[in-house]
Symmetry: C2
Subunit: 204 residues, 2 copies
């Protein structure tokens, strides 16, 4: 780039270009995800989110109304991978556990997709309101949709036990980083976990 040309990050509107323009809503959500991740739910404020997004706090209120609603909307993006679970289940019983294990490990292996999920988990583990919002989201967006796809008794309980296995692996492997689990190849984890998920989802 010749010197003197103003630099501009690719693929992202310059922060001050149009503070209340069409990019503002997504910029606010991005700032909110960063703030919730960094400071936790309790210490994140609408004012802080607005400052980080380079907009007036009134604009955050205009779009979302409350901190709860900012949080709830900001978790939609980290939840995108979870939204693909119904498709994975709909591909049939055979290999269901393996597809689910490989999908989740893929999300967690990639730092870019891991960060927002981890931030969300931290908020939910340290604040009751965040936990309640996540609970509502999981119930409405995931459990109610997939329960009909599993032809077993208590499908929702079974999905939760499978998710519990994956969640625990994520905590020990990527957060606490305990060896050997943190260091083994992702495919070995898939191989160990897939039969357990299959058992939870379709029975022994």
């Amino acid at each position: 780039m010749p010197s003197g040309t103003p630099s501009r990050r690719r693929g992202r509107p310059a922060r001050r270009d149009a503070p209340d323009g069409p990019g503002a809503r997504e910029r606010i959500l991005e700032a909110a995800r960063a703030e919730f991740a960094e400071r936790g739910y309790d210490r994140t404020s609408i004012r802080g989110v607005a400052r980080k997004a380079g907009v007036d706090p009134a604009l955050v209120h205009h779009y979302f109304g409350s901190k709860e609603r900012v949080f709830e909307t900001s978790i939609e993006k980290p939840f995108e991978p979870v939204m693909r679970v119904p498709d994975l289940l709909a591909q049939g019983r055979d290999g269901m556990g393996e597809r689910l294990a490989r999908h989740f490990l893929g999300v967690w292996e990639n730092p870019a997709t891991r960060a927002p999920v981890l931030a969300l988990m931290r908020s939910a583990l340290t604040n009751e309101t965040a936990a309640a919002l996540l609970r509502g989201f999981v119930t409405r967006r995931l459990l109610e949709r997939v329960a009909g796809d599993l032809d077993v008794p208590e499908p929702e309980l079974r999905i939760q036990l499978a998710v519990a296995q994956l969640l625990g692996v994520a905590v020990l492997r990527y957060v606490i980083k305990v060896e050997p689990l943190a260091g083994v190849d992702a495919e070995e984890v898939v191989a160990q976990v897939a039969p357990v998920l299959q058992r939870h989802l379709t029975g022994a």
Copy 2:
């Protein structure tokens, strides 16, 4: 109690009786667990712990030297139930998964034993130093002890996968409180989880 008699809590030295007496070390650890639970690792300070314990900060330094060491020592008590895992494994392969599941559910079902474990988990999930201290503790105190008791390949990895299942159940059932998992009887959870733990620990 006749009026005029000074009240005194049973089984616990009165706070100001002997601030640096033999009860002081345990009182500091109790204050530390409360502070880590309430404020998280980052925002807990030796000064704050000392204030809560009713002692001089110098006494905390005298006993523990650093915040890291206060944390590491304070997690010994919430870890007591985990310390019983080697005994549960040593009772033989048959029913190993069920014993482990029932033991852990028992710890989490009781609010008194749940609180310190949950506090520890919150610190480890939100702070790298706390995660590293917990990792070292788990490795030295648990994994190195039990690995020899399991006559399977990769015993440490298998224990971690079993613990992952239990940890995930704890998060969904007791922290996020997602239904139906949060509401079913503990014995139903034991019944669902025991075969999975057995599989992890002793093979298919």
